[in-house]
């Protein structure tokens, strides 16, 4: 939730709203009704659900709450499309979202259009707080755009015929990047967290002082080639590198490589992506690794993961809207680094920081206060966004978070070390 003092600039917001709504629909254009309806695991949601839930958010918090006389598009939808807002009443069980074959994809797209049009039709009558909620809703929808892509990728990976969402021409191999360079920091007090200019989620603030210790942070992320060396060196078979929970996970799940990797028939690794199954590109950033794997790799490499404060201090000078991020519907995947440093885009970078409240954090009031704070246990912070993050969505203070075993997002690794 944004800070209270924030006053959104109206015309750009309206434009942004329309753009965000359009992008979601462009992303699902290649999906069949079934593609959009099936849920491949409890962590994932059907694409149709993402489309509807993001609309429910606008319908509930903007239209229902701020447009007098607004009538719900369908009174059955709040039960179906609320995600986890306890304050908004009962809702459909998360793990059963894939049972909702009706409404169809076409009906959900109609719901979307109705909500979009109602917001636009009432735009000039919306009070400032409602516009703040529109902005929040845009950022919320951008988060779901990324989830939608990673959830479709997971679904397609479960289909033995491995469909490609966006078939793409084979890439030319790129030279493997040079060795990691280390960006040193002598330690001392820095400021981190959102400074109140523009939108931010509540968990990014308040801005506060943090004490860094002398350290160095890598100028690029780990590549697939480096990960293959970790595998070849027995990285997944040597408990010494692993956190205890991580080792239990490796054993229980039979983990031997990043998610979607498989050994090709003629040797060599392949990976499944939104463009189908392809050879692993050794020059590209490794992705679809869990925190446990990231931590084990760092241990094997004689390094560690950066803290989120170290990361933020290093990334502060860089443009958050640069790098390989999502601009439009079409193939997305991490790309080989061309110039360092690049802290934004390609892959979310696991930090060594547990996702916990900042000093002085208070959740927003009301249902939207459930947005972030209640998830602050058991998860780790990721920074920097990915190739599937809509460009314009990120900030240096942006805190993403997942459980340490999860890896169906575009997650990767940047190393750090003590000085």
């Amino acid at each position: 939730m944004q800070d209270i003092q924030y006053e959104p600039a109206h015309p750009p917001l309206q434009h942004r709203f329309a753009e965000v709504r359009d992008l979601s629909e462009a992303l699902v254009a290649p999906l069949s009704d079934a593609d959009a309806s099936v849920q491949s695991m409890p962590d994932a949601s059907p694409a149709k659900w993402h489309l509807a839930h993001t609309s429910w958010f606008f319908e509930t918090f903007v239209l229902r709450d701020h447009v007098p006389g607004y009538t719900l598009h369908d009174p059955r939808f709040p039960f179906l499309f609320n995600s986890y807002y306890e304050a908004e009443g009962k809702r459909h069980a998360r793990a059963r979202r894939g049972m909702v074959t009706r409404p169809t994809l076409a009906e959900v797209l109609a719901y979307r259009r109705a909500v979009t049009e109602a917001v636009l039709a009432n735009w000039t009558r919306l009070p400032p707080h409602a516009l703040e909620l529109v902005e929040l809703g845009c950022h919320h929808e951008q988060q779901h755009q990324e989830l939608l892509l990673t959830d479709v990728l997971h679904l397609f990976s479960e289909n033995p015929i491995e469909p490609a969402l966006w078939p793409a021409p084979r890439k030319q191999p790129v030279a493997v990047p040079p060795p990691i360079g280390w960006i040193e920091h002598g330690g001392g007090i820095v400021e981190v967290g959102h400074d109140g200019e523009g939108f931010a989620f509540d968990c990014e603030g308040p801005r506060h002082r943090a004490l860094l210790h002398p350290h160095a942070i890598a100028d690029r992320t780990i590549t697939n080639g480096e990960w293959a060396a970790f595998i070849a060196d027995g990285g997944y078979r040597e408990p010494r590198h692993w956190l205890s929970d991580g080792w239990a996970w490796v054993q229980r799940e039979g983990i031997t490589a990043p998610l979607y990797w498989a050994e090709g028939e003629g040797g060599g690794w392949t990976r499944f992506g939104l463009d189908g199954r392809r050879p692993v590109d050794p020059a590209a950033p490794v992705t679809h690794v869990s925190f446990y794997e990231a931590d084990a790799f760092a241990s094997w490499a004689g390094a560690r993961l950066p803290t989120e404060q170290e990361w933020e201090a290093a990334a502060a000078g860089e443009r958050a809207d640069g790098g390989n991020q999502l601009d439009a519907a079409g193939p997305v995947e991490p790309r080989p680094a061309v110039a360092a440093p690049a802290f934004f885009g390609d892959v979310w970078e696991w930090t060594g920081s547990a996702y916990r409240p900042y000093p002085g954090f208070r959740a927003a009031e009301g249902a939207v206060g459930e947005y972030n704070g209640k998830f602050m246990s058991g998860q780790f912070v990721l920074r920097g966004g990915s190739c599937a993050t809509p460009r314009g969505h990120l900030r240096a203070s942006y805190r993403n978070f997942f459980y340490p075993h999860q890896r169906w997002q575009f997650t990767g690794v940047r190393l750090a070390k003590d000085l």
Copy 2:
């Protein structure tokens, strides 16, 4: 699998083949691509899978094995659409059938047409054994038609908005049937099992002598009204009526009524069916009860379930193609009895007989030998067919079988007692 000596009459079989293939497609006409693709539980399969699997059966055992030079419609399909034939190689995990959003419903329907046309185009060249397999395939597909309907019903029941596959006008109430009449049998040796005339599955034979003990069998099945009395009398709360496994199931799953029943807001029971949610009709046969429930009801009523031999002896004189069975796509549900006795149609009747081989049983050779014999542990025999069984599919010797906790089929209860 049919008996060796059987010689199918060619022209009627061709006609039958075409009819069966058509009916499957008619049944799915109201389904969306998503409706046809989602799997609601491991016991159920997507409608699309049923459509494809029944085609795979013809393609594999008829076209591939008996049509020289036949090329598979899609080489990826055998892996996707083999059900459980170990002899036919590896296959997709049953519980993950719902992940196969591609091929789409349209593509599967195209596969169906291609297979149907290839069978018909090669008809006159098919050797007699292949025609036997065509007949087996027709019976196989009829079984899947019934499963398709019950699987769709289960899927729709999991959707909070409870769609109706075939909306239907509200029925007029019918007078509750008179008390059960008892058909007495003095005991002695009878012949049961298939006599070799016409098609039968291998598990129905060989025909053999069986010794009955003096008993009586009810002239109709239990009604919803009688079941409601069982509930009202605390039937689901009194362990004394229940088998030990059944009581554990009731406790673990929180069972308090037949599947799809719910208490209406204004009191009274409702049930969900292929026509949506409706009030329970007290005059209609109860359905969607497990063997455990059937056995507990019988115990509560001071009776027992019939053995399959008692059932078959009683039903032997009746036409197997009579009663309320599936004639065409459209609403199906058990209907109030109008005249007794009626042993066929409406609901599958749980017997007290474990599904085990008959004396002298031998499974058919080859992959189709996996059709029945390997399921002969842990399941109970049901007799008589249901409102969702395609008319023409049944025989007095027909043995259906399910696990004692399963109840998503149209399963009901007929009582018997010792004399």
Copy 3:
């Protein structure tokens, strides 16, 4: 429960009661307090629980119900030591029996003595029905003696140091028995079930006519050597031999040999028994196999399991108290056959018959009516008793029953075939 008309002979019963009570205590003499208290799996119970539960049975159904003024030894014990009698009220969860470290073994032995003495002290005042319950209690306790031994065996097998309950000298190898001989039966009506003379459990009756079909039954059980040949021929890797549920069990549990078998370091199979780990004796009957394994072996051997009626007809002429059964505390294990036929002792023999009620069966009234009838789903009948069955406990009509995956009892295989 015994038949109503039965009148127990008083002095022999008193003697029998004392002997049974003594044997239980002799069996646990080598056990430590911990050995007697730990529960190794939900199917098994601690030895201490068996000792106390069998005493609770006498205390409840004889002393409490038939001795005016009797005061419970400890009012907390009924909750702890009721097994599954719903009519006797709430009880401790079966899977948590191993939590009851107090009362100690010594306290439970004191409870036993107090109950034994109270029964004997009140003997002459017990009404006939109470004496019937004493006899039932003796048979009940004998059943628990066998369970106690197999439960201790399972517990010790879970201890990495594999203690021996009764260390025993190494046996001399015995000549492998000659090939199976087949006892033929031409079919026809036979009488099976208990005839009302002497004690029997309710499930053994009523005696009734059964129709046998022409068949042959083996004159001995399968040996370890024959089982090793099944393993060597890939028996556990070939789905064709297995029931579908059995194959799923093999895959899920990673089953490759009978329970307690392991491959020795120098090659060859070893097995764990009450005398510790020893080489498998190829001449001895195979034991600790499940119904699924028994059925798969029979399929591999081109035979089938006998029905329980076939078994009973074949065994009817033999003394039920012969063969290798439990006479006293001390090493028990199946022994090589020396003379055929021998239908009693060594190993319980899986039949192909599901455990279901006989024609005309009615459970006994009251709590003891829960003894058998409520278990009549999902289990298979075993016949003939084992090396761990107390001698004097068996009858030709005796029906034991277990689930098809269970194999911690001394269970083995006798083949049959159709003629």
Copy 4:
């Protein structure tokens, strides 16, 4: 693991070693062999295992590694009694520790004596590093003494008759403590972590600077009376107070009160402790609450949990060996506070800090390096020790850690708030 530069004072260490070894044995004096052998849940271990494992630690890292010619007491014990040291080879599965009824308690006590005597007999020949390992072993054993008590408490709580380890006279009620006083801190840089004087575990260092933000910390922990008010106010039924994972845990496990609390028959709460079941003392610190509960309580109270740095800064001036800690075998339970502040003893206090490495942390080399570092994911830090912590074991820098749902330790709550 202690710091390298540490040089233990020899005579006091020898004395300390003997005292620690004695206390373990005194704690188990009231236990039966079964009490000492049963494992009540995978998180807990049998008392016998604790006794043996702590001996294995000395035998392995001191005797085997530093006493030439030492022969293992029993070569089977390392497999049985290694806990989680991957570098020390295979070991018995944690969840099956309760299967080890042999060796008996008496045999394990003999093992203890043999190890203790061997260490003492070789004392003067032990190199300095071995003495460091002795000291580590003493601290290690003290940790297991606390676990032993809480594991026995859990085991006894699972027994329906709820035995008391140490029956104790009923306490006189004590006046409820005054309202919480708040100790304010203006923020700024403090030093935390172990300073290298005396023993510390590796995770307590290195000592480093930390930046505190202005805050206040409570001068006492939350009482049972305050917790009862939280319950009465619907604290366990209101999702708003709870972390998302915590709410899921409450729902899944049916949590309605601290562990071991029950509603008394005449109203009012009781709790089970090492002295049996007793009324809850409203003046005593609440204990056996999870992190989730602690966090929810703080949220309900409009406060938060302290960070571990805030806690350490506040506690730094207090003696770590004061308060209600374990001095000898005998009843232990949290006691009403008499004077504030008291940061040590009574209950471990959940902090809001995830258990993660300090800046510059490096795990010790070798197997003992697995002591702490590998557990640094998913757990939260607790500070201050409890009534069951052996006195002399604690330091201000001491970091204990458990998963957020665990609550069988003596865990409680101290509040903090932002200024």
